[in-house]
Symmetry: C2
Subunit: 340 residues, 2 copies
């Protein structure tokens, strides 16, 4: 990436300040992680050398790739993620308004870094939009260390976030779901979540726990791997066990669909006998026979915001600085599954 | 596109044969449309000049864009097309196996030709994968005239198809739906379709009509614009009218969801009282409370086939000629909505 450059580089700043490249990158991307005196030293070196981050990308722009890289995970049929599909549409539309296109790629290796490196080497893209983030996602640091512009849809949940990001506030969404069924009179409100260790799942769970604490409820958490069958099985255990819940707040619509099936199998009526709330407001949630109350993510807003953040980092004219951290608020779509 | 070429071109073949570029293109892409003597003259010129179609693309490949262009239609939220989203995933995966990526773009104008031209001018792509085809789609001829490799997912339904294509046999799928409910004892089988003039809709309707004729049934066709509300309204009229159907075969799952609602509202049981069949087997079809019998398109196969056709046209090593026309057979997924 640095071939052909004659100005200051991340490496020359690091050398001048007597720190590692990673530290310089941290000062640029996550200054709170750097001790104040080190930070001051690096900032002085940046100023002295007149170093401008992302200049590699700026120099590449004369080649006008005008392409934003986006990795699509290989998905088994039937396990599509409609949320990310909507995100791709939103990003494609928003990028087109500024003459940018999306480059879709898949990666064989787990984190896809080899593929990111290859696309950079080919100068095929000006920057990346990351999604499908995992806890401690290595891509963010890898890209930041190489001065590659990127924006992340989703956090990495480990220390300070590296680089700019857009995410949806899952904790608040789940807390609102709990408050909604509480307001309807429910007091035995269970939570059907994913196994511990998923950033998104733990975030949503924290909203449930916080709401229970505020409302004086005893939390009751059961967990399963994502999927309709596991969600159905856990919900069935809850309903058949002692003191069955009168409301089940789910980490996903898929779990909620399983819970609805378990409720119907027991001759109970969703909403009337047992309330159910999902998360993601997937297309099926509004169908007759389903009518699932669900937390809706503002995906179009997330896509547009991510594009603005990245295009601003690329110095695209007419894109004002939208800021580096965007926690978007979800909304609750209320349907029959929580109607008494 | 032709800049820097020194070998024979489409234009030089046309000049040698005394015909237009379009005629040469037709000989290459739709030989049945060309009168035999003209065709022989063009073929002789091709041989004499040793002209090789798609050599423009071959010469471009030294620039290694290794990118396949795919237009995404701007979609209003809530009106996503899960079939095409699955197609994009399948194409991305299949292309990656040969080191190709997908370039997603949107287009402001109706047919997007300006955008196709711009991408070609930038040499951003090696070829295109067309989807969202319309009757008489202008893109196919436009690309063929310029010798640009492409493959179409979907036909254009006007005369001979221009260029290689992959499609799903909607007529056969709908006919199987009719035969399925007929075998269950239904004789009053109505069809809920789209307005006349949509290639896909007319194709599916023709399967219904053919099956009715074979089985000695009187066809009964009602039409509505795509959408759950219009589908619901038409189904309600059918159910409330004289001699209501005992089975409704629908051109889309969305119509079928509307029909299921109309059936439930009348205290009838889907499958038991009125059978319903959808088309596309969208993710919601299998959910509890829905359980819709639906015609499933082999989308992953369509995506893989389309990529093979295009990569072969691009001369990618190790991709044998898969042929130019692929009509794939859908399958019927039977669920409770047709279970007596």
């Amino acid at each position: 990436m640095a071939g052909g450059q004659h100005g200051p580089t991340l490496a020359s700043v690091a050398a001048a300040a007597g720190v590692s490249r990673q530290t310089v990158s941290n000062v640029l991307n996550a200054p709170d992680r750097v001790a104040p005196d080190t930070r001051a030293r690096v900032e002085a070196a940046i100023k002295a050398l007149n170093y401008r981050p992302h200049r590699v990308a700026r120099s590449l722009r004369t080649q006008a790739s005008r392409m934003l890289g986006y990795r699509v995970r290989p998905t088994p049929p039937g396990e599509l993620n409609p949320v990310l599909d909507r995100f791709v549409h939103a990003v494609t539309d928003a990028a087109a308004e500024h003459g940018f296109h999306l480059l879709l790629f898949t990666a064989d290796d787990d984190d896809g870094l080899a593929q990111y490196a290859e696309l950079l080497g080919q100068r095929a893209v000006d920057g990346f939009i990351l999604a499908d983030t995992v806890v401690g996602d290595p891509r963010h640091r890898w890209l930041a260390e190489r001065d590659v512009p990127f924006v992340s849809f989703g956090r990495t949940w480990q220390g300070e976030e590296v680089g700019p990001w857009v995410d949806v506030d899952g904790a608040t969404g789940t807390a609102e779901a709990v408050e909604h069924v509480y307001a309807l009179g429910h007091r035995r409100i269970a939570y059907l979540g994913w196994p511990e260790g998923s950033g998104v799942g733990d975030d949503r769970l924290s909203g449930y726990q916080a709401a229970c604490q505020r409302l004086g409820l005893t939390p009751r958490v059961v967990r399963a791997e994502q999927g309709m069958a596991p969600g159905h099985a856990r919900a069935a255990e809850l309903l058949d066990g002692p003191e069955p819940p009168t409301a089940i707040v789910c980490v996903s619509d898929v779990f909620a669909y399983g819970a609805l099936r378990a409720i119907a199998e027991r001759g109970l009526r969703p909403g009337h006998d047992v309330a159910v709330v999902g998360f993601d407001d997937t297309p099926a949630a509004g169908l007759p026979g389903i009518e699932l109350t669900s937390v809706a993510q503002p995906i179009e807003q997330a896509g547009r915001t991510a594009v603005r953040v990245l295009l601003h980092a690329l110095g695209v004219p007419g894109v004002p600085d939208p800021g580096r951290a965007h926690l978007l608020r979800p909304t609750l779509t209320v349907r029959a599954s929580t109607s008494p």
